[in-house]
């Protein structure tokens, strides 16, 4: 009994520094940001005059923020669907027991190891939107291959540029989704497929009625992970397109308005809204996984 208690104290002491660090640097600053978001702080020096939810309400009549919401939604949908489809397709191919599976698995996973900034810079070159005599990047490739109909303005396409920003993001994260799906596919016992085949199910039916339902938890995890990444996207857009309003997202708006324009109150409000949007996604998922995980 004594031994057990002592051990408990030891482990608590070991964890204590990280608890303190997280309490201060994560939760402390969240609380402070909330306070700032309800203040009239605009300018170099802090001004904690209470203004209630004014900063939040103003945001919803702020045209730039409306652009941000629209862009975030488009980006999230394209990015998530793209990653899930490409990721599943690659996992399906790898699951067919082809030779050199290890090689291909690493090949598809590697982009994930690259930082968004590097991906962004490379894709900035690839997605060069110059037309006419200055064709470059992928457009030039299309031109040389005679695929002229594919030449486009990429992220400078009016209205829908943000959807093209999702391409590098899909390139980067679909390998990760593939790994998730591959693990999911491997966890499905062969007996189930065989039983279905014995019952006369076609391959399509097997996927539709057996594999997909069994992969649902994997899809859910993937969606939560991809979803919170897309809500926070920042560096990728900056690297591909710089600061321009047509490709704006909340994180960039927050950064510009706070540190270029000194609108600290507004910046705080955007940060809190970002946090809430991510929390809406993550918290139900955390509760779900905590409940379904057996106690240690």
């Amino acid at each position: 009994m004594m031994r057990y208690r002592k051990e408990k104290w030891q482990s608590f002491l070991l964890v204590l520094p990280s608890i303190l660090a997280i309490a201060v640097f994560v939760y402390g600053f969240i609380a402070w940001t909330m306070r700032v978001s309800t203040s009239a702080w605009k300018g170099l020096l802090p001004d904690y005059t209470w203004v209630g939810l004014k900063n939040y309400i103003d945001l919803f009549s702020d045209q730039r923020f409306m652009v941000d919401i629209r862009n975030t939604l488009i980006f999230t949908v394209v990015f998530m669907v793209g990653c899930l489809v490409v990721g599943f397709f690659n996992a399906y191919l790898l699951d067919q027991g082809l030779r050199g599976e290890n090689f291909f698995r690493s090949l598809f996973l590697f982009p994930m190891a690259i930082s968004y900034i590097v991906t962004g810079v490379v894709w900035r070159w690839l997605m060069n939107p110059a037309l006419g005599s200055r064709l470059s990047g992928l457009n030039l490739l299309f031109d040389k291959l005679g695929l002229d109909f594919l030449i486009n303005k990429w992220h400078t396409t009016p209205g829908w540029g943000i959807a093209f920003i999702a391409i590098p993001a899909i390139w980067q994260m679909s390998g990760y989704t593939m790994a998730l799906y591959l693990a999911g596919l491997r966890a499905i016992p062969d007996e189930l497929r065989e039983a279905a085949r014995v019952d006369g199910a076609s391959e399509i039916q097997i996927y539709r009625h057996i594999i997909f339902p069994l992969l649902r938890p994997v899809t859910l995890s993937a969606m939560v992970i991809l979803g919170h990444m897309s809500l926070k996207v920042f560096d990728l857009i900056l690297a591909v397109a710089g600061k321009q309003l047509s490709l704006d997202v909340p994180a960039i708006y927050m950064w510009q308005t706070t540190f270029d324009g000194y609108f600290f109150g507004r910046g705080g409000a955007i940060s809190i809204l970002l946090l809430l949007s991510v929390a809406v996604l993550i918290i139900p998922y955390l509760i779900y996984t905590l409940k379904s995980e057996p106690e240690i």
């Binding site: 051990e7 030891q10 482990s11 070991l14 964890v15 520094p17 990280s18 660090a21 640097f25 605009k42 300018g43 170099l44 020096l45 802090p46 045209q63 730039r64 652009v67 900035r124 060069n128 939107p129 110059a130 037309l131 006419g132 005599s133 200055r134 303005k153 992220h155 400078t156 009016p158 209205g159 397109a241 710089g242 600061k243 321009q244 309003l245 047509s246 490709l247 704006d248 510009q256 308005t257 540190f259 270029d260 324009g261 000194y262 609108f263 240690i296």
Partner: protein
């Protein structure tokens, strides 16, 4: 179970250490700049320098290229004049001062200002630091050094607030410069346009002659740069100034005309503007892909870097409609309230405003001195022409580069401009500009 707990504890420790490590990593450069401040209070025996040597810590974002070389040249002048003061160069690298300014903001909030820092002359300094009571007026220094006599009369109000001058301009850049490709204009028999209407005609002719991009444009800040010059070209200097001091409303009919001009000008630009930096856009002109580009005169330094010859491979003129006006921007240095080494800071500012200091800095940086009595032989052909204009033109300030609007107002204009670029709705743009002026500028509701 036990091993799992142990693993968890080790993991937790690792996390904490990594946090601490990153924290240290970020904090590390700070002591390097601050450490030299120590000898002032207690002279350590270890240093070889004579005890109680005076110091001045100067903060800037001049860390590379001609700017850093120019600063070094000015430091040489400073060291010669004030050998007993040690110069501490606290430059912070990164993106046109964005990083430096947040470091500065943190230091000011902590009550630890550098002895002097760099800032764009005008409202960028005044709206941020003077408003927060961080700067001392410098009228005494301007009078004592006779700078009021050698700097243009129309410059002084632009760097002052309530009659007080708050910074010493070191260099001057011109914003309203139209760069053109002489070969393209000649081939199409087009004279350099001097009014906005002539400019339209010239660009129509070029388009008809098959020039894909009459006017090269880059990312959003270069659009704002174009916008301010068109505003100036349409309104003229007096009304342009009136917009910024609140005496002319933004919903005035004259502004509508300027916005219509601006909208029309955008039709002559390249479709991939948003993906180009200012260098990319300027390069289109010297490469023969575009006829015109509106950019500040740092473009000249870039053309020289590309080994292009002035007059034959690139030409320059004031932006149509702005002849006789010099739309300026300037890097300047300030005196903070509560400077640790006030006397040394004043010594630095004296060098900044001196003929010797400015002639050391500017030829290297590729800008002109704020003083009109500088030694012209040190400067190249373009800069000499800019110096002539600086001495005789009416001086107005740039928006994009921090002279006429404070940072908050500027970002609001930038947001309105960004929306305008997506929907091209001038009426909405004009209303948003008026709102911006009311919320962060001098306009009253």
């Amino acid at each position: 179970m036990k091993s799992k707990k142990l693993a968890m504890s080790v993991l937790a420790l690792l996390v904490v250490f990594s946090i601490l490590l990153t924290a240290c990593g970020q904090a590390a450069p700070a002591p390097a700049t601050e450490a030299p401040a120590a000898p002032q209070t207690e002279a350590p025996a270890a240093t070889e320098a004579p005890a109680a040597k005076k110091q001045v810590e100067v903060f800037s974002w001049w860390t590379g290229g001609g700017e850093a070389a120019g600063l070094d040249a000015m430091i040489v002048v400073f060291n010669k004049k004030y050998p007993d003061i040690e110069f501490i160069n606290a430059a912070v690298a990164g993106g046109a001062g964005t990083n430096a300014r947040s470091v500065l903001a943190t230091r000011l909030q902590a009550g630890d200002p550098p002895d002097s820092w760099q800032g764009h002359a005008g409202q960028e300094l005044i709206g941020t630091y003077v408003k927060a009571n961080q700067l001392e007026p410098l009228n005494f220094l301007f009078e004592q050094e006779g700078w009021l006599k050698v700097m243009p009369e129309t410059l002084i109000p632009l760097i002052s607030a309530n009659g007080n001058i708050y910074s010493v301009p070191v260099n001057i850049h011109r914003a309203n410069v139209l760069w053109y490709n002489p070969a393209i204009l000649e081939a199409n028999k087009i004279a350099v346009p001097t009014t906005i209407d002539e400019w339209f005609k010239a660009m129509d002719a070029l388009k008809a002659a098959g020039v894909e991009t009459p006017l090269a444009l880059g990312e959003q800040w270069t659009v704002m740069h174009l916008f301010e010059t068109v505003l100036l070209g349409t309104l003229g200097p007096e009304k342009y100034n009136a917009l910024w001091d609140g005496t002319l409303a933004w919903n005035d009919a004259e502004v509508t005309k300027a916005l219509d001009n601006f909208k029309k000008i955008l039709e002559y630009t390249n479709s991939d503007a948003a993906s180009l930096t200012w260098q990319d856009a300027a390069q289109l002109v010297v490469n023969g892909d575009a006829a015109f580009n509106v950019m500040g005169d740092w473009a000249e330094g870039y053309f020289k870097e590309l080994k292009k010859a002035p007059r034959t491979e690139f030409g320059w003129a004031p932006v149509p409609g702005t002849a006789g006006t010099f739309q300026f921007l300037s890097d300047s240095f300030v005196l903070p309230v509560g400077a640790k080494n006030r006397d040394a800071a004043i010594a630095w500012l004296t060098v900044c405003g001196s003929k010797e200091g400015q002639d050391a800095f500017n030829p290297v940086k590729g800008s002109i001195p704020a003083r009109s009595d500088a030694d012209k032989t040190l400067y190249d052909e373009y800069l000499q022409s800019a110096m002539d204009d600086w001495a005789k033109d009416i001086v107005v300030g740039s928006l994009t580069h921090g002279v006429v609007a404070n940072d908050s107002w500027k970002t609001e204009i930038n947001d309105a401009l960004g929306i305008f670029l997506t929907d091209k709705d001038t009426a909405k743009f004009q209303a948003a500009l008026q709102t911006a002026c009311e919320s962060s500028g001098p306009c009253s509701k």
